[in-house]
C-alpha cells in the first residue's frame, strides 16, 4: 500500500513569522463517469489536483509554485484563497482554518487574501469602468461611504500601480486599455483593500515581453511598500528565479522540492527539478548542453503512477520508486518505437495482453501457453538490449510456470518531503534509508 507522505520535517530556519500554514491539503475532483456508473454509485475516477501539500507561508516572502500544466499549482493557489473547496487538510490563517469555513464566512477574509489573474483581458468586467471596478472591493466590504470616496481611493490605487495620470483611466472601459494597463488595473483592484497575501497566477504570461519585467518590478515595489506576501504561480523558471525567495516545485499535485530559490537553481535535488532546469532554453548556440529531458508525458492525473509519480519518467528511478505493471507496457512501447515495425509484429503477438493493464498491479501475469519460455527469453533480451532502463531495477523476479509468465515488481514507497540541506525534497535518492549505496 502506498504510504502517505509525512509532514515536512525540515528545520524552518527563517525567522520570519508564519502567515499561513498549510497542512496535508488535498483538493480532489470527482470525474463524472457514465450515467449508469453514477446511478450505481461507482462514479468516475478521482483526480487528485492537490494531493497532500504541506507548506508554511512566511510573512513577506515570495513563494513560487512552479510546475508543468496540470501539476496542480493553480488549484493549490486557488485553494489557499478558498476559491476551490479543500477536500481535506487545514489552511491556518489568522487563527482560523480556511478549509473549514464556508463561502459566507470566507467573504470577510477576502479583504486580506487577494488574487491576480493570468488573463488581464478576462479578469475585468467588460461593462464596468476602471474606477468602479477598482473601487468595487471597497464597496463590497463597506470600506467607503460614497461613490466619490471610492473614486478617490481608486484614483490613488491606480496611480500607485503606475497608471498616471489616473484621470485618464478612471472612466475608461477595459477594452480601451492595453494588456499591461489592464493587469495594472487588476493589481490596483487587488491591493485596494490592503491585503496581506496576494496569489498571482501567472500574472505576466499573457503580457507582451516588453511589459513583463515592469509588472514584476511593480509587484516587488508593492511588496516592499505594502508588506505583502506573494504566492507566485508560474511555469516560467526564469521569472521564478528573478522574483521568488523560495520555490516549490510541483508535480502531479504534490510538492516534490521546496527551498530557497538560489539553492534550488544552483543545486536541484529532485530529478524532476533537474530536468526542468535543463529544459530552460539557452540562448547561447555554442553551449549545446545534452538535454535528457524527461521521457514521455505527464501521467494521467486520474490514475497517477504508484509510488513516486515521477518514476515512469525518471532516469534515476530505482527499486522503491513504485514500479508496476503499466511500466512494463511503457517499456515495450518504447522498445517497439525504437526497433521498428518488424519487431513489433513479432513481439506484440507474444505479449499482446498488455493493453488491458490499468491501474496499480504489483505483478503482471501473462498467459502465453506453451510459448512461455519464448516470452521469458524475450524479456531477457529486452533487458540485455537496454540494461540502463530503470524498469529492470524494479523487477524482482520473472517466473514462468504452467504457461504463465509472472513478472513481479518490488514494493513501492511513496516518497515524503525530507530535508536535504536547506531544501526539502520528496525523492528516495535523498532518503538516507533507501538511497542506493
Amino acid at each position: 500500500m502506498p504510504t502517505k507522505p509525512e509532514p515536512s520535517t525540515a528545520v524552518e530556519s527563517d525567522a520570519r513569522p508564519t502567515l499561513m500554514d498549510i497542512r496535508d491539503l488535498r483538493v480532489h475532483y470527482e470525474l463524472r463517469g457514465s450515467a449508469l456508473a453514477r446511478l450505481l454509485g461507482g462514479g468516475g475516477a478521482t483526480v487528485k489536483a492537490v494531493d497532500g501539500v504541506n507548506l508554511a507561508l512566511r510573512r513577506g516572502e515570495v513563494l513560487g509554485l512552479v510546475g508543468e500544466s496540470g501539476s496542480g499549482k493553480t488549484t493549490l493557489g486557488r485553494a489557499l484563497l478558498g476559491l476551490v473547496p479543500a477536500t481535506a487538510g487545514h489552511i491556518t490563517y489568522g487563527g482560523q482554518d480556511l478549509a473549514e469555513l464556508n463561502q459566507r464566512q470566507l467573504r470577510p477574509m477576502r479583504r486580506r487574501l487577494q488574487m491576480v489573474f493570468q488573463d488581464p483581458h478576462a479578469a475585468l468586467n467588460p461593462s464596468m469602468d476602471i474606477s468602479t471596478a477598482v473601487a468595487h472591493p471597497l464597496r463590497i466590504h463597506g470600506l467607503v461611504g460614497s461613490r466619490a470616496e471610492g473614486r478617490a481611493r481608486a484614483a490613488e490605487a491606480i496611480e500607485r500601480v503606475g497608471l498616471v495620470p489616473a484621470e485618464q483611466f478612471l472612466d475608461k472601459l477595459p477594452v480601451e486599455l492595453s494588456g499591461g494597463q489592464k493587469q495594472r488595473a487588476v493589481i490596483a483592484r487587488a491591493i485596494i483593500c490592503g491585503p496581506e497575501l496576494l496569489v498571482a497566477d501567472e500574472p505576466i504570461s499573457m503580457l507582451d515581453m516588453s511589459v513583463r519585467a515592469k509588472i514584476l518590478e511593480l509587484m516587488l515595489e508593492l511588496r516592499a511598500d505594502l508588506d505583502l506576501t506573494y504566492v507566485y504561480i508560474t511555469h516560467d523558471l526564469a521569472t521564478a528565479k528573478f522574483f521568488c525567495d523560495r520555490v516549490a516545485i510541483m508535480y502531479m499535485g504534490r510538492i516534490v522540492e521546496i527551498g530557497p530559490t538560489d539553492e534550488i537553481f544552483a543545486d536541484p535535488k529532485h530529478p524532476y527539478t533537474q530536468a526542468l532546469l535543463r529544459a530552460v532554453p539557452d540562448p547561447d548556440p555554442e553551449r549545446q548542453v545534452p538535454r535528457d529531458l524527461p521521457r514521455g508525458e505527464i501521467a494521467d492525473a486520474a490514475a497517477p503512477p504508484h509510488g513516486c509519480s515521477f518514476h515512469p519518467r525518471c532516469p534515476y528511478a530505482f527499486e522503491p520508486c513504485g514500479w508496476e505493471a503499466r511500466d512494463l507496457r511503457a517499456m515495450f512501447e518504447r522498445r517497439w518505437t525504437e526497433l521498428g515495425e518488424e519487431v513489433w509484429e513479432r513481439e506484440s503477438a507474444l505479449v499482446g495482453e498488455l493493453d488491458e493493464i490499468e491501474g496499480y498491479q504489483e505483478q503482471v501475469r501473462l498467459k502465453v501457453g506453451d510459448r512461455a519460455p519464448e516470452l521469458v527469453s524475450l524479456l531477457d533480451e529486452a533487458r540485455a538490449h537496454d540494461p540502463d532502463e530503470p524498469l529492470w531495477r524494479g523487477v524482482e523476479s520473472i517466473d514462468s510456470d504452467d504457461g504463465t509468465v509472472t513478472v513481479r515488481f518490488r514494493a513501492g514507497v511513496d516518497p515524503a518531503l525530507g530535508p536535504a540541506g536547506n531544501i526539502d525534497v520528496a525523492c528516495h535518492l535523498h532518503n538516507p534509508e533507501l538511497r542506493p549505496k
Binding site: L81, L83, L106, R107, P108, M109, R110, R111, Q114, M115, F117, Q118, D119, A122, A123, L124, N125, P126, S127, M128, H136, P137, I140, H141, G162, L163, V164, Q168, F169, D171, K172, L173, E176, L177, S178, G180, Q181, V186, R189, V211, K214
Partner: protein, 364 residues
C-alpha cells in the same frame, strides 16, 4: 433597451462625444445606427421612423384624435351618423355603432403602445431575473425553471395568452394590464432562455471568479457582473417580440378575450366588428385599424431585423468607417490625445473608435 424612444441619431447623425455614464449610454444607443449599412441600415432607419411615428401618435392621442374612443355623439349632443364614408368631419368615416374610425385608430395606437410596453417590462423583468437565477445558481433551481419554461414554450402562443387572459379577467378585469400580463406569459420563456444561456457561459469568465475572490455576494455578482454582460442580446429580441406582441394583442381583441371595448380602443376588436361590414361594401371600418396594425408591426420588425443585422455577431457586417489621418504638419504642431499615453505604456486609447471599427471591418 433600444426601445422606440431612440430617434437620437437616426441616420448617422452627430456622434455624442459625452464622457461618463450618460455619454456611454447615448453612444451605446447610437452605435447600431452608426455601424449599420446597406439593407440593414435601411431597415433600421425605416423601422425606427415608423415606430417613432406610432409612439408619437400614442403619446399625443388626446391632441390628435378629434373625439373620444367611445364617443358616439358630437359636442352638441347630436349622435354621429353611422356608416359615414371617410371625409368631412370624420376623416376615416364612422362605424356601425357610430364611432369615429380615425379617433379609434389614434386611441388604439395608445392602447397598443401601452400594452406592449407594459408586457415588455413585465416579461423582461421576470425573464431576465429567472434566467439569471437559473444560469447562475444552476442545480435544481435551473432544472425546475427550465422545465416550467419549456412547458410554457410548448403551448401555442395565442392559446396561452387566451388562457391567461381568461384566468386574469376575473381578478384584474378586462383592461390593459390583463392583456399585458397575458402577453407577458407568452414572452417570458424567450428572455429566460437567452439570458440563461448567456449567464451559463458568462459565469465561467475570469471576472466572475475575480468578483468572488473580492468577496462579492452572489447577488452582487449577478447584478454587477453578470446582468450587464448578458443583456446584450436582449434589445433585438425585445424589439422583435414587440412586433409579435402587437399581433397577439390584436388576436386577443379579435377573439374577444382582450381589452373590453368600454376600457379602451383596440384595433383587433375594431377589425372583428368590421368583418360584417365588408360584405356591405363598407371598407373603411376595417382598412384603417388593419393598416395601423400592419404599419406598427412592420416598423418594429424592420427595427428588430435591422438591429439584429448590426448587433448579432454571427451575421454582422460592419461598415468600414473612413480613417482620417491627421495632416503631418498639424500632428507635429498640436499633439493629439493619442500622444498623451501613460508615460509607461502608450495606451491605445486616444484613437480607438475609428481604428477599431475599421479593423473589425477588415477582418469580417
Amino acid at each position: 433597451m433600444a426601445t422606440p424612444n431612440t430617434p437620437l441619431s437616426g441616420g448617422g447623425g452627430p456622434f455624442p462625444q459625452g464622457r461618463g455614464r450618460a455619454g456611454r449610454a447615448l453612444r451605446g444607443i447610437a452605435r447600431p445606427y452608426r455601424s449599420s449599412h446597406g439593407v440593414g441600415r435601411f431597415m433600421l432607419v425605416t423601422g425606427t421612423v415608423l415606430v417613432v411615428l406610432m409612439v408619437l401618435t400614442a403619446v399625443f392621442a388626446p391632441l390628435l384624435a378629434p373625439f373620444g374612443f367611445a364617443q358616439v355623439s358630437g359636442d352638441d349632443g347630436q349622435r354621429f351618423a353611422t356608416h359615414l364614408e371617410p371625409g368631412g368631419d370624420h376623416l376615416f368615416g364612422t362605424t356601425t355603432q357610430g364611432f369615429d374610425v380615425f379617433s379609434r385608430v389614434v386611441w388604439g395606437a395608445r392602447t397598443a403602445v401601452t400594452v406592449v410596453l407594459l408586457a415588455l417590462m413585465f416579461s423582461l423583468f421576470i425573464g431576465v431575473l429567472l434566467g439569471l437565477l437559473a444560469g447562475f445558481v444552476g442545480r435544481w433551481v435551473d432544472r425546475v425553471l427550465v422545465m416550467i419554461m419549456d412547458a410554457l414554450f410548448a403551448l401555442p402562443a395565442l392559446l396561452l395568452a387566451i388562457v391567461v387572459a381568461f384566468l386574469l379577467s376575473e381578478y384584474v378585469g378586462g383592461g390593459a394590464s390583463t392583456a399585458a400580463l397575458a402577453i407577458t406569459a407568452v414572452y417570458v420563456p424567450q428572455y429566460f432562455r437567452v439570458v440563461r444561456a448567456a449567464t451559463v457561459s458568462a459565469k465561467e469568465q475570469t471576472y466572475v471568479e475575480a468578483a468572488r475572490a473580492m468577496g462579492a455576494k452572489p447577488v452582487t455578482i449577478m447584478v454587477r457582473y453578470l446582468l450587464t454582460n448578458v443583456i446584450q442580446s436582449v434589445p433585438v429580441i425585445a424589439t422583435l417580440n414587440a412586433a409579435d406582441a402587437i399581433l397577439t394583442l390584436a388576436g386577443l381583441g379579435f377573439l374577444g378575450y382582450g381589452i373590453q371595448p368600454t376600457e379602451a380602443a383596440e384595433w383587433g376588436y375594431d377589425l372583428q366588428r368590421a368583418v360584417a361590414d365588408t360584405g356591405a361594401g363598407i371598407w373603411w371600418t376595417g382598412l384603417f385599424p388593419g393598416l395601423a396594425i400592419v404599419l406598427l408591426v412592420m416598423g418594429l420588425t424592420l427595427m428588430g431585423e435591422g438591429l439584429n443585422e448590426t448587433m448579432n455577431p454571427a451575421i454582422r457586417v460592419r461598415r468600414l468607417l473612413p480613417v482620417s489621418m491627421p495632416e503631418l504638419t498639424s500632428r507635429t504642431s498640436a499633439p493629439d490625445a493619442a500622444g498623451a499615453g501613460t508615460g509607461r505604456e502608450r495606451g491605445a486609447a486616444g484613437e480607438r473608435p475609428e481604428q477599431e471599427t475599421s479593423k473589425d471591418g477588415d477582418a469580417s
